[in-house]
Amino acid sequence: MDKKLCVLPCNGIDKSLGVVARTVALKLIEKEPEMNLICPVLLNTSDERYETILKESNIVIIDGCMTRCATKLVDERNQKIFKRIFIPAMSKQFKIKPGTNLELNENGQKLAEKISIEIIKELKASEYDEISIEKKLEEFDFYEITVDKYYFQVPKDGYFFNENDCWVKPNGNTALIGISDYLQNRVSDIMFVELPKVGTEIEQFDDVGSFESVKTVLDLISPCSGRIISVNKDLKEHPEWMNQDPYRKGWFAELELKNFDEDWELLMDGSGYFKYMKETITKEKEEMDFKN
């Protein structure tokens, strides 16, 4: 676990949903032993006990009822929050009612387990976000061509392309995806991006979000199948990175690959795509010249 995290649950001895809150916290500690558990009573009476942990960590707050004791304990501080969990809402979301007994029944245990898994999933996804920043900045050799005022690049190695001008860069069982330099040139200045949701399962050639330029709106058509494990949130602030650096800073999403051995059969490597791109550009140029 790269990110320091602590968890503050409801004390969990008043209502069954509170007991669920406490159980979720215990399960989190079990699954992620580096996570620190904060006792709400001790925090309330002797907060210097947790001063260092709270300063260094993001916190998961778990409230069991509307009194929201855990939230109130943190709201007075300037604390970095990773996630707030409200057990009654989670009970509704998962359609699991734990009953009213303070000794958790099977449903209560099941609900606590599901919530803890959900939190861990989110935690892992946010870690991937940070890892990806390093991955996308690698240097690469490329093929290049200038046509009129336009200059196009295609990486020589490591990237694979579909005929919809989108690329995939596999790395073990994960991969980054994005659009080619040719496509960004063609659509011109990109102004907005609509990123896919983390966790979405996609098949090869599915639409994975979209981007809007001064000229058009287009979907990114995924070159491979898999599950989205992170997205390039920085593109919300800097959509122009898709134009300026489409193969690195302009990556769109990261996937856990599902069937790349098979997906690969319908993709081109850098040299194949460069040839295909040149033919497309030549054809377009002929059409433009003919119209003029």
Binding site: F205, V217, L218, L266, E287, D289, F290
Partner: protein
């Protein structure tokens, strides 16, 4: 289109474009002929027909970019549909394996 453009020779993933049944279908019950799809599509897939009941048709179906369905997103009454991508992918794979 340029003189050198020959739809018979166009391919997608090595498969003749004419073997791939990918293009939009217009539901004329829903279509209100706002022409947003035609305004969007840079490939002249659609054509407007003046004086006809069906004022918009899919004219150049093989110009449609395989797997692109962005025009459907411009359609407020949701009158455009496309084939199933899984089926089209299967078909492309089948054609490629038969013609290796």
């Amino acid at each position: 289109m340029s003189e050198s453009y020959d739809p018979e020779k166009e391919t997608f993933m090595g498969v003749p474009r004419k073997k791939i049944p990918w293009w939009p279908t217009i539901d004329y019950v829903k279509c209100n002929f706002c022409m947003e799809c035609d305004k969007f599509c840079p490939h002249d897939v659609y054509a407007r027909i003046e004086g006809e009941e069906k004022k918009l048709i899919v004219k150049n179906q093989y110009n449609c970019v395989v797997f692109c369905r962005t025009c459907a997103k411009t359609c407020a009454p949701d009158a455009l549909s496309f084939p199933n991508k899984r089926e089209i992918t299967k078909l492309i794979k089948k054609f490629r394996s038969e013609n290796k």
